[in-house]
Amino acid sequence: MAVRLPEGALEDRLERYLEGFRNRHGLEESEVVGNTVRLLVSPEAVPAVLTTAREELGVLHLSYVTVVDRMGSFEITYELADLRGGQVRVKAVVEGEEPVIGTVTHIYPTANWHEREAYDMFGVAFAGHPDLRRVYMWQDHFDHHPLLKSFEINTRRTFEGLR
């Protein structure tokens, strides 16, 4: 098999990941909880941190990208897995109403649709994304982002302009 999955005991590996991230990047917070390496990084550093994860540390799988609307700031989580028991959770907080963050599609191509989904649901713009269209909602005449806390479930307003 051409793909090399990480080897060795889980604790050692997690320690190696943590050291690897700490040595290369300025992290705001970093810790190991259970089988997870948790990182809090600045939004600008996200692509660099994920490049390290894939190219240097061999964490090959991006599970998903998710966003939490904290009313005024957005928490963007990248869930990585090394496929052998260890996981890396990279978190970045973007301030402001119209969040922008660098894309990671050139590092993990699978992020393509996950980022499109985050854009569709929260309006998070991923700079440099090759194909940032809505994935679920109508392409035209619909300028809401339904998972924002400010979006009320209200049929009349939601479908205005669609009929």
Partner: protein
Amino acid sequence: MLSEERNIESVALSGRETGRLTDPDIRDEFGLETMDMNMGPQHPAMHGLLRLILELDGETVVRCDPVMGYLHRCQEKIAENRMYPAVIPLTDRLDYFANMHNEHGYCLAVEDLLEAEIPPRAEHIRVLMSELMRLASHIPSIGFLLLELGAFTPILYSFRERERIQNIFEAVTGARMMYHYIRIGGVKADLPPGMEDQIWEYIEGLEQRFTRDFVDLIAGNEIFVSRTRDIGKMSPEKALEMGLTGPPLRCTGVDFDVRRDYPYSIYDELDFDVITDDAGDVEASYRVRIGECLQSIRLIKQLLERMPEGEVMGKVGRRVRPPEGEGFSRIESPRGEFAVHIVSDGSDTPYRVHYRDPSFANMQLLQEIVPGHYLPDIMPIMGLIDPVSGGWDK
């Protein structure tokens, strides 16, 4: 990496290799054009409501663009407005071919927040149901693959097995499709009396007829082989790059199974093999699914043999109010890795729920590997991914 230029370039390459695409010079000289075609959303082979915008050169696909959202219910938004236990019936509607796994994943995430203790019998029943569900999902997906190749009979044989498993579910949970059985802290009710023997009897019978019905009738067929071998071929690097999980990943030879590598419930105490195959094409995914069915049968037998006595519901209050924080779970659904991410603000309702559905992630493969194939090859590739509409559309 997925930019337009690269896409066209790779398509042109594969077309040149197979001789399937018209040479650009010839196309210019004769003024040939490609044809745009909308496949779906109402299309019998699209596993639900999926629309593919295809660009065809003759019968060769030049570009494939999946359009989703025809079944989107915004489950994540609905979940934000419901109390924790009331989200479980919604998760049933996610991937409606593997409902138990969705319930299981959601409950594990909430229990991760609550740090609840689950009684051993409840864990056994959960895994038992999950494995039965895996059988009830894998066997029809073999049937679907054959149906899309034009053979009608295997789908009915496979649905016969699904019906019987649904009968078991009906006896245990009271419903045939939307179970609402796995609850936060345990399961809704104990198995009815005599149920364990009934399941054992069914599994014994299935083991006997499985090879006859789903391997002997299908695997050696010349047309089946010619339609599936080397179709949707991908390397393990490509599969990992596209974030595949489950059978589509394992059929390329990457040895990854959430049940073994990120064990949840009692999977670390059970004995089973992770089935892989090196070919990485549609036929390999069929072989992987066959192997996984046999492993599920093995798991169910082990579970029935070691089924402990005791409570089926842990000490979780009727009112679920987890502390502030994040809950996370990752399980192996029949289609791949199903993950749930819950953010709690300490109230009755989740602040944010995110489902990572395997159908959604695996579907990205379509726009990558369909170009360069013939139009009828889309159907076996759909069978390789085996997505479910409720899954990718949440």
